[in-house]
């Protein structure tokens, strides 16, 4: 199972004008890793799939705003 985001630590100068973000993150959605989709992957139910935007659980990778309380999302 691949992680849906990766992090890195950019250089921080002692003279940076703003409070530095020590860890930056970027999205690495599941389509990057699948190659050709293999047969018989687990599916959502039809009503779940309409909500999720995909029939396939392996491709589900929701994104939440840091402004949406309690939803999480990428570390900013």
């Amino acid at each position: 199972m691949n992680t849906h985001f990766k992090t890195y630590h950019p250089y921080v100068s002692p003279f940076d004008p703003c409070k530095p973000i020590l860890e930056k993150a970027y999205s690495t959605p599941p389509n990057l890793y699948m190659g050709f989709q293999p047969p018989n992957l687990p599916q959502f139910t039809p009503s779940e799939a309409l909500k999720a935007g995909t029939l396939w659980k392996a491709f589900y990778d929701p994104w939440f705003s840091p402004l949406e309380p309690g939803k999480g999302g990428l570390p900013q």
Partner: protein
């Protein structure tokens, strides 16, 4: 030939009166990586691509119009009742003086949509790689719009659209694999 179904692909709910969000959403309406660009790019590229993947471009290009309609609905709901004061506060007065509450194909910075946003190279691999890039760019654009929005109802619809970008990218990647055509052939060079 198309058949139109008079409903949205996914229900659009806007929970807060925040016309500023319309300023961000217009990027997905008339921007380079927006839904209009996507639909016109794919539906145009289909004529000069191998038969095996024409249907994919038709299907995805058609779905992009359904996404365009959702974005239009979001923008319309956010702006239709805004007073001139709210328009000014939201920073969309430049749009208002030219278009009133009407929608128009331009990006978040006001640059009108142009065919220079899209390309057909006639080379199937080049075209599909452009399509993959377009889907990833649209996915990222949705991330940044969601990050700027605290409207959970609106973000729900945007999350659906972002997920579709992931699936479309996957299908374009599979189309490249089909055209590479070496799979399972056990060719010895």
């Amino acid at each position: 030939m198309w058949i139109y179904e008079k409903k949205l692909q996914y229900p659009v709910r806007v929970g807060t009166c925040n016309p500023r969000l319309a300023k961000y959403l217009i990027e997905q309406y008339g921007g380079a990586d927006g839904e209009l660009s996507a639909a016109l790019r794919y539906l145009n590229q289909r004529y000069s691509i191998p038969d095996k993947v024409i249907g994919l471009l038709t299907d995805i290009g058609t779905e992009e119009f359904a996404h365009l309609e959702m974005i239009a609905t979001m923008i319309y709901k956010l702006t239709k009742d805004a007073t001139p004061e709210q328009i000014k506060a939201a920073g969309i007065e430049d749009h208002y003086v030219n278009h009133d509450k009407g929608l128009f194909y331009h990006n978040a910075a006001g640059t009108p949509w142009t065919a220079a946003f899209i390309q057909t190279k006639g080379d199937p691999i080049a075209d599909l790689y452009e399509d993959i890039a377009a889907e990833e760019k649209a996915r990222a654009t949705y991330q940044w719009i969601i990050n700027l929005s605290d409207d959970t109802d609106l973000n729900d619809g945007l999350r659906f659209l972002r997920e579709r970008e992931i699936v479309h990218s996957q299908r374009f990647r599979e189309a490249v694999e089909i055209l590479k055509d070496e799979q399972g052939k056990k060719k010895i060079f």
